[in-house]
């Protein structure tokens, strides 16, 4: 157990610090919603890639910095940017999900073609997984693609395609082998959002904003070679991608930040002149949450170390999404409760402008419910924890149980 930094990492730390001193002024605002990156953001992103603060371990041939894998380095870099409140680079589904997927299972050509432009923010991706009929049951995707003289012809509908309204490309999970069992009938295609026959409609959510879209496919042509791994391997590829998504969510840094905001909020909110941190129930809830956040923070350090040591974290990784979203929701709950009636006014500014604090907390509160559902619902997570993590038997398969169930 050693929570101090090695010489190598202290060295990196001072590099990052001097970079921030030198270039910090060019950084775009932290946060700023999900929208097409502007010029300033793209320039900054390129600067980060050049210095290896983004795509650090990605081989130079693919547009990265080519550093040897060392998660601790990424942690050091992230910490410095967070501490200086400087923009640490784009986070989008292309960078967080597709790039690692291509690095893991893509062809050399696909990596050369896509990874560089993606990490530089020049190409924006969206994810074509969920369908109205298959939310939790991803493997049941019905969007069809049939091969006709060198092209996949795609027909169907996807939902929850965040950023589809400004994305350039989509990674798509669709059914290419209708006769095979459902898990073996899927393929993973890459297609341009400019393709004729593709229509994107914004999907309004509980928050009142349109964070997502529905995407409709009518005879959309996709060149045959724009497939990852191969026919019928879509489920395998999709799971490689999902693994990375689930790690994105339940993030201890976010929780710690929320806890700090919450302490500030409770100190500075009053009822009849009493600061809420002096009101028993508010304080007690805060204390319980502080204990849990400390635990998740430490758990995160453990996962980080295991990643650095190449240890498979197993169930410890699988609990992160479920545990993290529930804790996040409870943090946001305490915040909206503390804001009370005065915090009910709600004016989301959409994705381009900043919301006031109360609205932000309310959006978090509502959006967290979405996080319990999206990216594998709580129940799906509990299946994964139980079946893959604790090796408990799966639900037995049932023949036309829908019928039985309905009966």
């Amino acid at each position: 157990m050693d929570l101090s930094l090695s010489d190598k990492h202290r060295e990196l730390q001072s590099q990052v610090r001097s970079f921030i001193r030198q270039h910090g002024g060019e950084s775009p605002k932290v946060g700023g919603g999900r929208k097409r990156p502007d010029r300033k953001t793209l320039d900054w992103q390129r600067l980060l890639v050049e210095h290896g603060y983004v795509g650090r371990t990605i081989p130079r041939d693919y547009g990265g910095f080519g550093a040897p894998p060392d998660v601790m380095e990424s942690a050091v870099i992230a910490a410095e940017f967070a501490h200086a409140n400087i923009y640490a680079g784009l986070t989008n589904q292309g960078i967080s999900m597709l790039v690692p997927t291509l690095l893991e299972v893509g062809t050399d050509e696909q990596r050369r073609q896509w990874i560089g432009p993606t990490i530089r923010g020049e190409v924006i991706w969206c994810q074509g997984y969920s369908e109205p009929g298959s939310g939790s049951d991803l493997a049941n995707a019905q969007t069809k693609a049939t091969l006709q003289d060198g092209n996949w012809i795609v027909n169907g509908q996807k939902i929850w395609t965040s950023s589809a309204h400004y994305a350039d490309w989509m990674f798509l999970l669709c059914r290419t082998e209708p006769d095979k069992p459902k898990h073996e009938g899927l393929s993973y295609l890459l297609l341009s959002m400019q393709s004729p026959g593709l229509e994107v409609r914004p999907l309004k959510t509980m928050t009142g904003r349109s964070e997502f879209n529905e995407t409709f496919f009518t005879d959309v042509k996709v060149p045959a070679e724009q497939i990852v791994v191969g026919r019928g391997k879509g489920w395998y590829v999709a799971n490689v991608t999902l693994k990375h998504e689930r790690l994105m969510i339940g993030d201890a840094g976010k929780m710690t930040h929320r806890l700090e905001q919450l302490i500030h909020l409770l100190r500075n909110t009053e009822i009849d002149g009493r600061s809420l941190i002096g009101v028993a129930e508010f304080r007690d809830r805060l204390l319980k949450l502080q204990g849990e956040v400390l635990a998740w923070k430490a758990h995160n350090l453990r996962l980080l170390t295991e990643a650095a040591q190449g240890v498979d974290s197993g169930v410890r990784r699988m609990i992160v999404k479920y545990g993290g979203t529930m804790l996040g929701f409870r943090l946001a709950s305490l915040a909206v409760d503390a804001l009370g009636a005065a915090g009910l006014p709600y004016e989301p500014q959409g994705e381009d402008a900043e919301d006031d604090d109360a609205t932000t907390w309310n959006i978090d509160y509502i959006y967290d419910v979405g996080l319990m559902i999206g990216g594998g619902s709580n129940n799906i997570q509990k299946n994964i924890i139980g079946e893959r993590g604790l090796d408990l038997p799966r639900e037995p398969k049932v023949q036309n149980a829908a019928a039985i169930g309905r009966g």
Binding site: S130, S134, G135, S136, D137, N140, I159, W160, L203, K204, T205, M206, G208, F212, T269, E270, I271, D272, V279, A280, E281, F282, F329, S333, V336, D337, A338, L339, G340, A341, A342, G343, L344, P345, Y346, E347, N362, Y365, I366, V369, G370, M372, I373, G374, S377, N378, N379, K382, N383, E395, K397, V398, N400, A401, A402, I404, G405, R406
Partner: protein, 362 residues
């Protein structure tokens, strides 16, 4: 001993729900959410014919002369339909006039409440344990100061304000400056009110002003608890219906214990709350000794249980529940709104502790 709704109450409930189902389909609710002033004149008129507004007004003033249990039945139906109407304000104003007004003032105001001609927003300067700022002074018949986050003030005709000491004052809404704020519940705004030395009528006929003010406040809390009960029940019914239809993994999702147990937990939490709301409402009229404690616990319990039911039932709807398409969120947010106004659960239980002498030693 009979702990149940009377035949009349059940009939009233049915007619109310029938009317609301009829006049407040989802499209209408969405339309009302747009301006978001929380008032639907047509609905208000129609409910007037059902006798909603004069429910608690004594018959000699043209009302039905009924009690808080009837008000709770109505509030549950309104919450179930997410009806955007200033019902809590009406109830609180009626009780304020009955307990604190002179016969002349009652003659003056109660009939117009019963007739649905007056719409009251009731604001508390301190007493209610709300966050937000409030400082109001009453100098003779002149009212000055401001209140924030007042409910039911989307389109009021009158404002009724309680000062910290329990003194109440009535003024014309037009005399004050009202700033509407769209709340997380788009069907019901909150309002900031500024009084610039406006003429107001004092209500000081009550022997114990503070106690009377608290009774009015507690009645409002019971109404909000009942409203949340109705909203939560609506979400649960929706989730149960959805769980019987939606198929995933080749099975109706309601056949999975994962989903089934979520819904079983909801009904186990929610059903006893209905009895609590009835009990608390009845206590306001019939059991003075238990009135405060049960009102405080009803507001607190429904605030907490409502939140859990709202979240779990939304989860049970999967992605659909998170979209705007089903409109579930109108009820989700109504429950959030009700939780926070007139004192949240934390504050209500704090008052319950004080009431019982369970004082903290810091």
């Amino acid at each position: 001993m009979e702990f149940a709704l009377s035949q009349e109450q059940r009939l009233f409930d049915d007619s109310l729900r029938g009317y609301l189902a009829d006049r407040l389909p989802m499209e209408r609710l969405r339309a009302l959410a747009e301006p978001g002033d929380g008032f639907d004149a047509a609905l208000w008129q129609g409910l007037n014919e059902l006798g909603l507004h004069g429910l608690l007004v004594p018959e000699r003033f043209g009302g039905a002369g009924l009690g808080m249990l009837d008000a709770a039945v109505a509030a549950e139906a309104l919450g179930n339909a997410a009806a955007p109407l200033p019902f809590a304000g009406t109830v609180m104003a009626t009780l304020a006039f009955m307990s604190g007004a002179t016969e002349a003032q009652q003659d003056n105001y109660l009939p117009s409440i019963a007739a649905g001609e007056s719409r009251f927003a009731v604001g508390f300067a301190g007493l209610a344990g709300q966050t937000g700022t409030a400082s109001v002074t009453l100098d003779g018949d002149r009212l000055s100061g401001h209140l924030t986050a007042v409910m039911d003030a989307g389109a009021p005709t009158h404002l009724l304000v309680f000062l910290r000491d329990g003194t109440a004052a009535v003024t014309e809404a037009s005399a004050a400056t009202l700033t509407l704020r769209r709340s997380v519940d788009r069907t019901r705004p909150l309002t900031d009110i500024v009084f610039g030395n406006v003429r107001a009528e004092r209500l000081d006929a009550a022997n114990d002003k503070l106690a009377a003010a608290r009774r009015v406040l507690d009645a409002g809390r019971v109404v909000l608890a009942a409203d949340t009960l109705g909203a939560a029940q609506r979400m649960l019914d929706g989730a149960v219906a959805y769980a019987k239809e939606r198929v995933q993994f080749g099975r109706v999702i309601g056949s999975f214990q994962g989903v089934k147990y979520m819904l079983a937990d909801c009904v186990t939490m929610l059903e006893p709350c209905r009895a609590l709301v009835w009990y608390a409402a009845h206590a306001q009229d019939a059991m003075p000794g238990e009135a405060r404690l049960t009102a405080l616990h009803a507001k607190a319990q429904l605030g907490d249980v409502g939140r859990d039911v709202a979240r779990i039932t939304t989860e049970a709807h999967g992605g659909m529940g998170f979209t705007d398409l089903l409109g579930l969120h109108y009820w989700f947010k109504r429950i959030s709104f009700n939780r926070q106004v007139l004192g949240g659960p934390e504050r209500c239980r704090e008052e319950a502790a004080e009431l019982q002498g369970w004082t903290l030693q810091a």
